[in-house]
Subunit: 220 residues, 2 copies
């Protein structure tokens, strides 16, 4: 599967993370459909992205975006994750669904991982979407860097998690289209939790070092 010939849907595409990923995919020449709860808001954000990237970006309500995508990224807030996926399960059947959601809580001391009954957001998605090919990825990429037009190269690895080799290969290839970014297979769905939760550590690092931290895997 070559991601360049496919349509990438980004559910929750009007938030910073989704919009940032959509921007990079559009810049790389991919056809992107932004999804949002409000079709109008999605269309507005898509028009802005099409304008700044010169790419092919459309906006739609989440369900329509999901239907349009061959590969569907889920970048919605954790709150509402389960509800949205349960609702979209029929339209997501047969598709590669990439969960990018970090179940985090925040208090005065910063971010921390929330417990998830299924183990991780990605495993929750897999449980709710038995007919989809669920992969976890793009958890640790800074939205600030993704959205910064001055950042030409997003120098970070994308840890890709899943039990379906063809699907993880496709998501690695998707990460690879973004300059500086590299998709690395990082284990099965049962090892997704810690990759999601690691975002809390990156937030601690950002605060201590005034950075937009990401992860590189060494020796690969």
């Amino acid at each position: 599967m070559t991601p360049t010939t496919h349509t990438i849907a980004v559910l929750g595409g009007t938030g910073p993370q989704g919009r940032g990923l959509a921007r990079r995919f559009a810049q790389a020449g991919l056809h992107v459909v932004l999804g949002s709860r409000s079709a109008e808001r999605a269309e507005k954000a898509a028009a802005e992205l099409a304008d700044v990237t010169g790419g092919h970006v459309e906006g739609a309500a989440n369900a329509d975006a999901a239907a349009a995508g061959d590969l569907v990224l889920v970048v919605v807030p954790w709150d509402g994750h389960a509800e949205l996926l349960a609702e979209l399960a029929p339209v997501l059947a047969g598709k590669i669904v990439v969960d990018c959601v970090n179940p985090l809580g925040f208090d005065k001391q910063g971010a921390y991982a929330l417990p998830v009954p299924e183990g991780s957001a990605t495993q929750q998605a897999a449980a709710l979407l038995p007919d989809s090919r669920v992969v976890g990825a793009f958890h640790n990429v800074s939205a600030v860097l993704l959205e910064d037009p001055e950042v030409a190269s997003v120098d970070t690895d994308v840890l890709v998690l899943g039990d379906d080799r063809e699907a993880t290969d496709a998501v690695q290839a998707l990460a690879d289209v973004v300059p500086g970014m590299r998709g690395i297979y990082a284990g099965r769905l049962r090892n997704a939790h810690q990759v999601e939760a690691l975002t809390a550590n990156l937030i601690s690092i950002n605060r201590r070092y005034t950075a937009h931290a990401g992860v590189r895997v060494t020796d690969v």
Copy 2:
């Protein structure tokens, strides 16, 4: 606190990870005391390390090593972690204790994170050692690289976790004495679990890519 003027104890120092860390600290000129359940085995491993590094390495039973160390690394198997720390609590009082233990299970599909009632091995150590200054670190460093005499520079970051700034600073400084290694503050104890568990992902990466994977934090 400058680690170079202090004695570093490595409990579980005859296993690959402990021995590898001890080797690098000895090479950097630090005074190291290897601990093991068997004083004899510890003395034998220490003599070998002193020989290959030309450094100052001694061996002792874990309790004696713990007593000798200003800064005490815990690199024992997860099985027996709680028991050893409960036993050594009095002798570890007032010291900086660095938990390096990854609670992992293994099956045909590779490694996975074990649930820990306290949240993580590091938090278990903190609960068992209320009078020590507990820090988590050195979870993701490849024992193979540490032990390889051909590897001059261990190019990896050490994520350092803790609630005591002076203690985490000391452990970062300890990581910094090893060429190529860099100590990075990565959050509070409550965010230790995912750093320990990430070792399961690195094991998956090693298997897929035939590598000795580690982690670098970008933009820091």
